[in-house]
Symmetry: C2
Subunit: 389 residues, 2 copies
Amino acid sequence: MDNFTFYAPTYFDFGRGAELHTAELIQKFGGSRVLLHYGGGSIKKSGLYDRIVAVLDGAGIPFVELGGVKPNPRSGLVRQGIELCKREKIDFILAVGGGSTIDSSKAIAAGSLYDGDFMDFYRGKAVVEKALPIGTVLTIAAAGSEGSPNTVITDEENQVKKGMKSDYLRPRFSVLNPELTCTLPPYQTAAGATDIMAHICERYFSNTEESEITDRLCEAVLKTIICEAPRVIEDPGNYEARANIMWAGMLAHNNVCGVGREQDWASHHIEHELSALYDVTHGAGLAVVMPKWMRYVLDKNPDKLVLFAARVWDIPMDEERPRETALKGIEAFEAFLKSIGMPSTLGEVGVGREDIEKMTDKLLGKKKTEGKYVELEREDVIRIYESCL
Amino acid sequence: MDNFTFYAPTYFDFGRGAELHTAELIQKFGGSRVLLHYGGGSIKKSGLYDRIVAVLDGAGIPFVELGGVKPNPRSGLVRQGIELCKREKIDFILAVGGGSTIDSSKAIAAGSLYDGDFMDFYRGKAVVEKALPIGTVLTIAAAGSEGSPNTVITDEENQVKKGMKSDYLRPRFSVLNPELTCTLPPYQTAAGATDIMAHICERYFSNTEESEITDRLCEAVLKTIICEAPRVIEDPGNYEARANIMWAGMLAHNNVCGVGREQDWASHHIEHELSALYDVTHGAGLAVVMPKWMRYVLDKNPDKLVLFAARVWDIPMDEERPRETALKGIEAFEAFLKSIGMPSTLGEVGVGREDIEKMTDKLLGKKKTEGKYVELEREDVIRIYESCL
């Protein structure tokens, strides 16, 4: 196990009706002038917007609003948010929505206390040293941004998704009410479940030996999604299954499942180029890329794929032919993704061959390789994209 | 899944040499005058005391010392510590040791900012509303106090162990260097591993349905201890196995494995009376009590014991005879505890029949029942003690 630090100080308020505690949570964490940040009309249709406004008004907390966050959140709206926070002397950001809204809020939080362009943080030109505090009311189990230090923004000028992380960006509190996810369409639900599984896989496929506890935690989250995702596809209003997925989604990305070892993230980065260029739903893109990445790296570094098959998918271990065991694990993963309605080829999400070279160049930038479990060179990335067609 | 809140803001610095960061961590979390609290001579023999003093001196952090914490930490020493903190205007407590030292520090932290007797908190007469911040340097994987809000103190006047918890008592930081545990004797190591398993079992045996994620996390920690504990008994200097146990020990008690459901704690409370009266090593007492509790409740509420057998001990499920499956799980647990050198009867830890009624009365106090998975009445508790003889 490698040396590590772990710090996850977010206060979670989980359960039915938890959004009604939002005002007291803002006050508990020192907020007095709030930016209410959200996406499209879904929180208005569902009544969540009205409930949040009512509790803020009820507590006498002044707020300004910025809606309009889109999936794969854009740099342009972040700039508007930063300007608004500075002008209105905002001291707390409340994100009501999914990962995109929370990631956008994190960008605004960092940018509001920074003199330069906030994209400096995402381009590796500056490090976050302070940020406005944020709280979240989560409406989809997927990105894990409600408990993570991470944020991903699409740079509109360059059509590229860029991520960064900082402990200053961990939400002070997150409200997780599984009821709020019960109205999500099956496709979004399944894409969220896939994203959660991918967050674990990127941490599970590691060359660092001897981190049994972290392996076991990863398997626990994957097993939970494998158990619960089909139940919500079958019965979207199943509160209990939604609750398990929602909490698993947080655990999948607050890094408790990743400490003490090298992580990979190649599949995520390969997918980010798809989302940036074609606006593919992130989880759906991952459903295509992740198993193809597994097939590609299988012969280069099979060990963890064998464990994945045996422990996560209960494939009986064939000691004589471990490759076959691993392959059955990948097939089980593919069958599972298909069963919850996820795509398995880029064609299904409207992506063709023509941009593969361009996406590969953007992905690698100045780097020679991508990923750690197997270090992928340019040719490897191209072959993985091609295998996804 | 029940509604819950979860808040675990401790900063963990994990790995080789981590104790050398102690001074900068104290400063990061605002400490300027420190109480250095520790137990007996082991940290002096090992050189850890000298290293800690050197980093404090090197950073120019003034400190006063209070050693002498004993296993099952005593109220008398806590009172000395409170007096010392008040007199010396201490603003940060550094606990260097195991669960007893950390629990004693928590009591001092709460008592130093309270006008009444600190035992009020443990007797349910007052609630902690503020406390001095504490940091820890952990020397044994067992109690999980390094990441928990809990503390247990032996009330010397009444020979009774009393516990309490408060988020104000969660350590600001904890330094976890597995190397520091490599010199522990096998018996202490095994007792620590047993305590870790018990912290999980008290959370696993729950009547709350539909918390798959929490079940899976519990199983992950148990599986890790089952894998790693025999390795350190065989080879006490095995850093990797020590590291896995140390991190598992924190996870077992910061409540990430217990959220969203009713917990039990009968075995812990039954054992606390043994520790209070006979100064039994807590983990060794649990090794006796826990399996006997399982055997006692088996016929009253078998379901979770069946799951425990199947998922934790890999007992093939006998659908026709689930009781047999569960029993094999308990037997596997007993065999495991024996294999790592733990006792299985009260006779082995020097406890006889004569105090059973007295312990039962103390345990129940004014309560009618103990535990939740099965509510134990007075007669049940007596029978469990008797079955432990």
